[in-house]
Symmetry: C3
Subunit: 415 residues, 3 copies
């Protein structure tokens, strides 16, 4: 059979019934923080608040095996920068059915253009707040069944899933997500992309709380909880009137609608997403518990007995990002999945692009609960598989009045 390498191992059988390949990726980061006074307030309020630490960190260390078994395909991906079963990434069996790809296992639900872009291909070091780096916190991949198709200039996908990452406790929550995209223009040097997605998640027995949790000053920086929907009843604690309690109606729902607009023109690229939705609440927290959860005192009146009430929370998030490849490369559009890939230099030449993003998220039902950041930086591509990323992140947490900044560098290789 035929052996092939472009950095990984690949063998394809003569009769095309089989193939197998082993690839991987290393993302190695360094973070420096410029801390702000807002953190002092957090330090005083949150018991186990961790100050950001200037450090090096493996962001991703993955091996990925994939292959073909007659009409079926498999993918098995493990991230060694995570511990235990939580390190499973794409793990699924799939086949073609009704002109589309069926997948069974653990994978990304059909929602959020930013989320669906591979971590090897993203423009900034971290994804936007409208992805698992925010509104879908800890829910970037779920276990379930999905179907994706594409035709002409369209893609369509739908996913039914258990509210569970492989590292999470077993639970009975369920969800569904769907996404549709249209590229009215898509030629050699320019693309216009439109998209919409909808996600619905319904907690149940043992489901973890769904949170919108934002690291607004970059990875490993301070976090702000922006919205919260309770999970199983077992996560509540305390009683009304206690110093610390968290009570309410378990099993809340979260729905998110996302809209996408993006395009390229020669070496220029711009992408924007708007996500809004609802985190159902009906929860009661003591003032102390509110502080522990949100890192600051309540920005509204709380009842002395029943505490701070949080009902349904309307959450809005949007970003706009762009890049300019100074060395002239064009960002290709992946017509099968409806996302953009990163530029590719032609070895032995490299490529250089400057990048920027403004990103914001707001909970309209908790006064002042708004977080945003501005990120700018550049990417240097040594070759199509190795790049250096530099990002400066100017964070802004309006709720806690913190403006921590981060300088971050990533060395990235994949194969």
């Amino acid at each position: 059979d035929k052996a092939k390498t472009e950095g990984g191992l690949k063998i394809t059988s003569e009769d095309d019934n089989f193939s197998a390949e082993l690839g991987g990726r290393i993302h190695f980061d360094t973070y420096f923080f410029d801390k702000d006074d807002g953190q002092l307030q957090r330090l005083l309020i949150i018991d186990n608040f961790e100050e950001p630490v200037n450090t090096t960190d493996f962001r991703r260390v993955r091996l990925t095996m994939r292959g073909k078994l007659w009409e079926w395909e498999y993918k098995l991906e493990r991230d060694f920068a995570s511990s235990g079963t939580g390190g499973l990434r794409d793990v699924f069996l799939g086949t073609e059915i009704f002109d589309g790809d069926l997948r069974i296992g653990n994978f990304k639900p059909s929602r959020s253009m930013s989320q669906l872009t591979s971590s090897n291909q993203i423009t900034m070091m971290e994804r936007s707040f409208g992805s698992s780096a925010g509104i879908f916190d800890n829910r970037g991949r779920q276990q379930g069944i999905g179907w994706n198709t594409h035709w002409c200039c369209h893609t369509f996908g739908i996913t039914l899933f258990n509210l569970r990452n492989p590292g999470d406790p077993r639970n009975e929550g369920v969800g569904a997500a769907s996404r549709f995209t249209w590229a009215p223009i898509n030629d050699f040097d320019s693309t216009v992309h439109l998209g919409a997605s909808f996600s619905y998640e319904d907690a149940n027995e043992d489901t973890l709380p769904r949170e919108a949790l934002i690291e607004y000053a970059g990875r490993r920086g301070p976090e702000q909880l922006v919205a919260l929907s309770p999970g199983g009843v077992e996560f509540f604690f305390g009683e009304f009137g206690d110093d610390e309690f968290y009570q309410g109606r378990p099993g809340g729902e979260v729905w998110i609608l996302g809209l996408e607009l993006a395009g390229t023109y020669g070496p220029f690229y711009a992408q924007s997403e708007y996500a809004f939705g609802n985190f159902s609440g009906d929860i009661y927290l003591s003032e102390i518990t509110f502080g522990d959860f949100f890192g600051g005192p309540p920005s509204f009146l709380c009842d002395p007995i029943t505490g701070c009430f949080i009902g349904d929370q309307s959450v809005h998030s949007w970003y706009i990002t762009g890049s300019w490849a100074i060395t002239g490369q064009h960002k290709p559009y992946d017509e099968k999945s409806g996302v953009f890939r990163s530029i590719k230099p032609r070895p032995p030449e490299g490529a250089f692009e400057v990048t920027a993003r403004y990103d914001t998220i707001e909970n309209k039902d908790i006064p002042n609960m708004k977080v945003s950041n501005f990120v700018f930086g550049f990417n240097y591509y040594f070759n199509p598989k190795v790049r250096l990323m530099v990002n400066v992140t100017l964070g802004n947490d309006r709720f806690i009045r913190d403006q921590t900044k981060q300088f971050a560098v990533r060395m990235q290789g994949f194969w």
Copy 2:
């Protein structure tokens, strides 16, 4: 050198001194339970009893590398559906000696036909109670040295081992197991298999307690402890007369004799094993501790001071299982290891088989301590490496009077 794929990666050297291959498997399960009132009783008694949860679950996610180094071979297998060093599966070095295979490392001891059948080849989703799914709970693989051979219609194996999985604490327990099989008939479309095995395990310093622990309503369902032999002294607690205590003579022995009868005829297959043996006890538990361990009140008289005495426990377990390949395939017999493999369709055709099993285990020295289940279902083979399994399990725990049922589905691929 020669590259080859049948879904995995394989390279063989021209001079035949070397070979290497990388394979893997994904078993992805979904479970639904029909809970029974017996569990209420358990809930009231056991502090941290977990109710069964309807969920999806990765049963196995493995990468397996094996190869040849001149006259030696290696195998290294890691299950990413388990955490830490407990995720090691077959990890050994081996060579041929005296016309047999010598293995040094971690692997399955020579006992229990059900256990020795690969998880890719088993007929039902879970193995019988006479395997590591019951009487050899948590002892499916052990660290040690083993030798296996086969001639004509016979196989013989012997294993000496430390009572340790790689994920267990270091301990000084030791064991031995041996198995002999005979296939008096083994031709093109019919096989008759007879076998016997004997296992002896002797606990010592730091050895974990050996248990026969049964998930009688399928994986992730309620568990019943059927028999118990103490391990190291450090697992005892409390004092006679306390509310909770567990005392006795540490370092018990467990021996199990297993008998096997199995056969195929065209598309029909039947297999039965009978295992009986002794879990040495000499332990004293308070009534509360008995309830915590066994999930129900003692079914015999306990002393107010010295508690419930459990001496040597005679344990009997047997099952009978069968399948009918409606699409006509014959289950092949592996003459080298003395087990049956699953049927293989010829692509692009699939295969369909219906399956059933009755399985039971009893501790004759604790009144009413008997657990059994009936499982029926079907397997659909998309191709020789991808199958869908459906199992309905009707559990019956006579001790606690629980009859939880499970509906389970598995998508399985290996390469």
Copy 3:
């Protein structure tokens, strides 16, 4: 492209832009201890002291993927005998720059000849006290950036690093190490090697304490803490005058100078290293805490209020080791990294070598704080990739007056 196996998987592209290979290693150990009375003393003093256990143990179970991406290379190695992110070993991206190899990620700093020798190639089962098996305890690999070069008969390397293994907490400690070697003689059957290295480590926020921790009676045997430099302030506890406290100036420095002399002549090999340096202290411990840390009562006078003071500690360590290949093979010298490799038999013949080492380490600032051992044994090479190691270790802890002995066997394969 070209596929190749020498036990692993390797594919190289025709144009030489790419290559990829997957290898691994299994080291499977068995340990028997002859315990000594000195441990009784330790048992009485240390709360959670673990007596050595006769057992089997996977010392290393690794998969290693490496390859070439145009002018860059990657290496990704995971040890499955360790849990979580602490199981990452060599994980880096590298390229050639200024006639040397640049590495970014996690790898061994340029220090300690014993440490820099691959675990597949070491002469005894464990490395000397002057490596991560002692003075650089838990610091065998660090995250950072390094550059290595070699010319004529010289090697030179320099590393800048964060004081962090991937499994350690994020922290702001930093370090640097450099090593220079010279081989004035290096011909067909004889080599003389000289070397020197210097390492400097500066603890800071959240840095773990740096320890020289010695398993003087072999792996999994009793440990003796020989020297200690505090890390971040968060590791201190208690107050002056308490029964248990540990206070002082956080963020100590450790510097180590190492000198190397080694050589081969035909089947004979000898190697010696002398390491000395300083662990900065300025710490105060209560007598009870001193006992908990060091396993015995203080060997000097302690103040009733401020406890036992430990200032700067001058630490000296040296070993001499040798081997004789009775079957005549010569140990090759790796000119690129300035270390010796193990002998290689020519299959189908094996090879046999006898080995010995005397190893010692002393903290000159704590009276009697000296630990040493004598190890002798043999290695049988079935072939160049599979060997059996047998080591007898005669341990001697002068501080606690313990002379535990160990008999150890390793089956080792790599590919």
